[in-house]
Symmetry: C2
């Protein structure tokens, strides 16, 4: 793969100047056109040490309008980054629609270095690359133009550069012991990088290997590659949007939901006793989260008036108020709308030691957005896999994920709606929209059943709660959380 980047490409000064002038004008124009589309630009600059990754990043700041462009260099993680899943730092710095970022030292660096030094097996490395592909594919489908540049130098050329830099006092600081360490492993790096590029060069996010020996050739080729990608995106932005339509699938006659025994109940006395017991367990267990380097996420979904709020109000006070919070998921803000669907959830992830309770969640994509037709079918269909991957990442980083579906009967929902209508301090809980959603009861039930099937995983299982009787439902929620914590924090 890299042979084609060891052929001695050069650009003469005259030709360079002419092409450069053209390139800069076109890049500025393309950047400005992109600014009014829903696309964002990500340029990943990878490659061998000494190939000039940061020089290239700097060039873009000169060539393009720096007001719409950021450079992100992912070096050592900050403590807050250490305390969250691996990809948090990439989500956190993701630019909004219409903007661009040049990324140096990305999601490729860690697996490649780990594999070179044999800290991970070949199987783990391949899995890491699969994750990269899934991540980039999601980004692409969510309106990201991904340009991946690999700056290549031959072994001899790399050594020549390091030696040259070291000789001059003004540049010697730029060559570190790490550079020479890496250089001594050049052949192994090359093999592993080839594997990485082969596995991750997709139609949505292709690699361009650039011979980096001649600077003029390197810079022009990189710039022109980016230009082409932006121009293509601007052209694509003019295509019509895919159609959106409500989904009115009917639920199966017998399903996980119909088989729930909604007659289960607890009387007031039993309830008080059991509730207190579970709250005490949770209070004790959540104190261990910090010392064990774990976090908790509890997700609540269910029909309107199923009792999500009530369950959360019992669960939350059992936790240390300093480390627990509720995220109530309503309409996205404009900053959230300008980024991929899952961004708004990544941004509020708990640090280790903390707990976050989601009152509705990322599952909105396959529930309300599906049923109401807020997004094209292709988007909610791919969401199952994206969500499973997201939760797997959470789990791997130490987050305990518990997911609850609170189920009531349609008749019970009606009773609760009526009660809300007549009780003064509950009136704010009931809106026109609740009544509209109620009319789509079957479609929501069908969506829920499919959701359980596709997203109940060993690391993030769904628990279905018989919530017809509030007492029973709440106690079951708290007991499940406590059991889960006990199991995970053994």
């Amino acid at each position: 793969m890299f042979e084609s980047a060891e052929v001695g490409n050069v650009v003469e000064k005259k030709a360079y100047e002419k092409r450069l002038e053209r390139l800069r004008t076109d890049l500025l124009r393309a950047q400005h056109a992109l600014a009014s589309t829903k696309f964002r630009l990500l340029v990943l600059v990878g490659g061998v040490e000494g190939g000039g990754k940061t020089e290239v990043a700097r060039l873009f700041l000169e060539w393009m309008d720096p007001r719409g462009l950021q450079v992100e260099a992912y070096g050592d993680k900050s403590e807050e980054e250490e305390e969250r899943p691996e990809y948090w730092r990439y989500w956190r710095t993701l630019p909004a629609s219409g903007r661009g970022a040049i990324l140096v030292g990305t999601w490729y660096t860690r697996p490649i270095v780990q594999r070179v030094f044999k800290d991970i097996s070949e199987g783990d490395f391949d899995m890491a690359m699969d994750r990269v592909v899934a991540f980039e594919s999601m980004l692409a489908r969510e309106g990201t133009v991904i340009v991946k540049i690999w700056l290549h130098l031959s072994k001899d050329e790399q050594r020549r550069r390091f030696t040259q830099l070291e000789k001059a006092p003004a540049t010697s600081w730029r060559v570190s012991k790490r550079d020479w360490d890496f250089s001594s492993k050049y052949d192994r790096f090359r093999k592993i990088c080839e594997r990485a590029l082969a596995k991750t060069g997709t139609a949505e996010a292709p690699w361009t290997v650039v011979e980096a020996t001649d600077r003029r050739y390197r810079d022009l080729t990189t710039g022109e590659t980016v230009l082409k990608a932006v121009q293509d995106a601007v052209a694509r932005a003019e295509l019509p949007e895919p159609a959106k339509a409500p989904d009115r699938t009917r639920p199966p006659q017998i399903s996980l939901l119909t088989r729930l025994d909604l007659s289960k109940s607890l009387d007031a006395k039993e309830y008080d006793h059991k509730m207190m017991k579970q709250q005490a367990r949770i209070a004790r267990l959540t104190r261990r989260l910090r010392s064990q380097g774990r976090a908790l996420i509890a997700v609540f979904e269910g029909a309107d008036a199923a009792g999500k709020g009530g369950a959360i109000r019992r669960l939350l006070p059992a936790m240390d108020a300093r480390n627990a919070r509720v995220m109530s998921v309503a309409a996205p803000t404009d900053e959230e709308r300008a980024r991929p669907y899952l961004w708004r959830f990544w941004r509020h992830l708990p640090r280790l030691g903390h707990a976050t309770i989601y009152d509705r969640s990322w599952y909105g994509r396959v529930l309300v957005e599906r049923v109401e037709g807020f997004c094209p079918a292709a988007d909610w269909k791919r969401a199952y896999a994206e969500i499973a991957a997201f939760e797997e990442e959470l789990s791997e980083s130490g987050v305990i994920v518990a997911k609850f579906w609170l189920q009531i009967s349609r008749a019970e929902q009606l009773r609760r709606f009526k009660d809300r209508t007549v009780t003064p301090f509950k009136q704010y809980k009931i809106t026109e929209e609740d009544w509209r959603n109620r009319a789509k009861w079957d479609a929501y039930q069908a969506a829920a059943v499919e959701m359980f099937e596709r997203t109940s995983t060993p690391f993030a299982p769904w628990t279905l709660i018989e919530a017809e009787d509030k007492h029973w439902g709440r106690v079951k929620v708290l007991k499940t959380v406590a059991d889960r914590l006990e199991e995970e924090l053994a």
Copy 2:
């Protein structure tokens, strides 16, 4: 001051239950009413150790709708918090309009503890309290309901509690060595807290000292105090908004701006030579930021087409692209609009070692917002002091602040506008709005002159740039940055 909270207030169980039911209903109702106003609620819970600060915080999560309420307990700082000004953590967690937060361990804690242990002088302590008053005053004027609760225990009662907690195995972990250390200094703490409360009890953010011996009394009093404040805010929300009007002050005939010599210029050769020299200085100097625990903020203001973008495009590439970024200040997002004016600038502050260039800035408040009448006159008038305080905090935390005003003549602006109109790849730079702003030239000049007078401080001076000749202007900007860095990083 605390004597009135050592009188033995108690509430009997029966009365408690009755008042509590009422309180909870009213609190929920008031919270819901607040949600649709522009106000946010901040409840600060302070007081002696053992008084039950976290218990009280937890209560609010039970009593109110936790979906609109967050608890923030500011314990040890994270590394990212350490690398930014003291108040960054408070800005960062500030709730949006309509929402509330219960704060435990706030901006009072550090100065009080430092003063008790004599790490700071009485003068420094008083200055810290002045900063608190200014901060809370700004919050209040920006639509924040501030309720400050001080939970008081007498010396004997505090000791009794600690001893009792220590005896029971289930609660002994709750008493730390730190608690006893603090307790042994009870009298000194009391004296200093009294001073803190006396200096910071304002009409906008009054203290309520609550006798915390009897839990029922403590909880009800706290809850009812918060309820009253929220109800008052809801009533205030119905008052008409203050009027906004454009400001058409004329500039003085002779001013800092009229006295600039706009004929200064550099020819192309001098320019290239000087530019390269200054870029090299900046490249060298910014590398020292990290090791010296400093950061850089450069602010660019000036009329449209004054050359802010051009100067930034020369300055930025001189810096390490990995640690430098441009913030272009356009219309605020909805998340920004839901918070105090300065929030959007706090959120993007550079970490130590980094540089941020602001293309337009917080000075919009006293420029465009003043001239166009986007905010009431009272708001932009208080902004001078708020901005000076903000920049002082930046400076104290190690940020080097450089501010540039790029000045051109009205005739030159017209030439540049016309050039933009006819040059294809510059057309996006010129909008209808630019022409409208041009018509208000005098008002903008007047606002700028007042701005220099009021906000040029030793720690954050303004530099006026003769920008009629682009060469001269850019070199002066870069030289000023380099000189400033050299001086500060000596």
